[in-house]
Structures are given as C-alpha cells and as structure tokens.
C-alpha cells in the first residue's frame, strides 16, 4: 500500500502545481515577474514556481544518486513558458521514478552531499513525502499572492483533489 500512497500523493502534487501554474501564467509575464513584497520566500510568482521546480529537480537527482551543487531558480527561466517546458520533462521523470519504486526501496537509505559539502543519509520513503510537503508550503504562498492580484484561486487541498478529480 505504501507504493500507492506515494504514487497518489504525487498525482496530487502534479495536479496542484499545474492548477496554480495555469492561473498564474494566464496573468501574463509582466504580472508573474512583478515583485510582490518582502514576506514571501521569493518575491515573484515566477520565482516561486522556479523554486518549486528547482527543489523537485534537486531531490530527484539526489534520489538517483547525484549530489547537484546548484539549486535552479528564477534566473534559469526567462519566462513562465521556458519554465513550463522544463517542468513538463521533470514531471515525467519524477512520475517514472516514484512509479518505479518498490516497497523495499522506500525503506532504503540514500546519501547525498549538499551544496555546502555536508553529507546526509536519509530514508527514501519519508523524503519522497518531504518534496510534496515543501510544494504545499510554497503553493500556499502562491495562493495568497494570487489573492492579492485578482482574488482567491480555487482550492488545492488533497480532499478537493480526491473528491473532484479522482472521485474516490
């Protein structure tokens, strides 16, 4: 069951990311590049999405045995369209990786070195959950930023996802 539990969590993650990305992209490049103030982790909508992409890409590389030295961010993507193209590819890779995990893989440990050179060894299953939780943190900021720009976006809770998209 744990394989299904993580697979469906990622279906949710991809759905919620796309839902907010499409609303943001619909506002146009000028709006998604506009600084929204100080309390946010990243000042623009594009920067927030670029960070979501960057963190997802970093962890996927670590799960595959890599130790990337750099976290991709806003500067790597001139436009939301550039980001979308890269993100589509990453999402496919991420889906293939999570879908390919077996029960024994989830309990296994993986090692990586962060950008500061510190080595970590962590259990794979729990950290696969971390990436979705990290995404929800920043999706909440995106939702609040969208509320400031043009009103509250549709809900991206897991319950809404199950009841309106999966229906079960």
């Amino acid at each position: 069951m744990s394989v299904a539990l993580l697979g469906q969590l990622y279906d949710y993650h991809h759905w919620a990311n796309r839902r907010l990305f499409e609303i943001s992209a619909g506002l146009g490049e000028a709006v998604t590049s506009r600084p929204m103030g100080a309390p946010w982790s990243f000042p623009t909508l594009k920067g927030m999405f670029a960070h979501l992409y960057g963190a997802d890409a970093l962890w996927l590389a670590r799960w595959k045995g890599g130790s990337p030295a750099r976290l991709h961010d806003d500067e790597d993507f001139p436009t939301m369209a550039d980001l979308r193209a890269r993100w589509d590819l990453l999402e496919s890779e991420q889906r293939a990786f999570v879908g390919g995990l077996a029960e024994a893989d989830l309990a296994s440990q993986f090692s990586y070195t962060n950008a500061q050179g510190t080595e970590f060894r962590l259990p794979l299953g729990p950290i696969v959950q971390h990436v979705v939780n990290h995404g929800t943190h920043h999706r909440s900021e995106v939702a609040a930023m969208l509320t400031l720009i043009n009103g509250s976006p549709p809900d991206t809770g897991i319950a809404s996802y199950r009841l309106t998209v999966v229906r079960g």
């Binding site: 299953g125 950290i127 959950q129 939780n133 929800t136 897991i158």
Partner: protein, 167 residues
C-alpha cells in the same frame, strides 16, 4: 512501510505546529490578534492556529465514527493559552489514534458526512495525508505573517524533521 510513512508525517505535523505556535505565542496576545490583511485565509495568527486546531479536531471525530457539525475556530478561544490547553488534549488523542493504527485500518474505507450533511467515503490513509497537507498550507501563511510581524521564523521544512536524531 505505509505505517512508518503515515507516522512520519504525523510526527512532523505535531512538531511543526508546536514550533510555530511557540513563535506566535512569543509575539504576545496583541500580536496574535492583530489583523494582518484580507489576503490570508484568516486575518489573525490566533485565527489561523484556531482553524488548524478546528480542522484537526473535526477529522479526528470523523475517524472515530462521529458526525461533527461544528468546525471550531477563532471565536471559540479567548486567547492562545486556552487554545493551547484544548490543543494539548487534542494532540494526545491524535497520538493515541495514530499510534493504534495498523495497516488494515489505514486501508479501511471511512464513511463520513460533511458539516452540511453530504456523505463521502474515502480510505483512511488519504484523510490522514490530507490533514497534514491542509495544515502545511496554513503553516505557510503563519510563517509569512510572522515574517511581516518580526522576521522569518525557523524553517518547518519536513526534511529538517527527518534529519533530527530519532528519540
């Protein structure tokens, strides 16, 4: 492994709630009740914490077979101290419930009704994920509001929780 995954995210949930509650409490009663703007799900830090408590409570009642019709919120608490007292009791109940679950219980289909009386049926594990994810959404708002009030609070990223030595 599914039990370990679910217990892991719940351990994270209690830790991150307490971390941010402590940060809000350190602002004092006035800071926690200050209106922080209309773009938040709830305008005050106390209201946001009360909503996380309310959602956690309504779901625990449903998991135990109840059909609660009231979602607790800001108006149910005078201040952070009485919210803390109620929340400590709720957390103990949650710890007992989550700790008692076996694999078969996680897969069990739960029949429940929304506060409007609409019926739903979902496996328990999905709802256990939902409540933690729901709170992360609001914890993010709390972190941004705290950043406005006094500067960025400590990170409650899940990886930090998993990096801690196991008790």
């Amino acid at each position: 492994m599914e039990l370990e995954l679910i217990r892991g995210i719940w351990g994270y949930h209690w830790w991150s709630n307490r971390t941010l509650f402590g940060e809000v409490a350190a602002l004092g009663a006035d800071g926690a009740k200050k209106d922080m703007g209309k773009h938040w799900s709830f305008p005050t830090l106390k209201g946001m914490l009360a909503h996380i408590y309310g959602a956690d409570r309504i779901w625990l009642e449903r998991w135990k077979g109840g059909t609660p019709t009231k979602l607790h919120g800001d108006a149910d608490f005078q201040g952070l101290p009485d919210l803390r007292t109620a929340w400590d009791a709720l957390e103990s109940e949650q710890r007992a419930f989550v700790g008692s679950l076996g694999t078969a219980e996680l897969a069990r289909t739960l029949d429940y009704k929304s506060t409007e009386g609409k019926p739903f049926a979902q496996p328990l594990w999905q709802l256990l994920q939902h409540v933690v994810n729901h709170a992360t959404h609001h914890r993010s708002e709390i972190a941004a509001m705290l950043t406005m009030a006094k500067g960025s609070p400590p990170s409650t990223d899940m990886v930090l929780f998993y990096r801690q030595p196991k008790p």
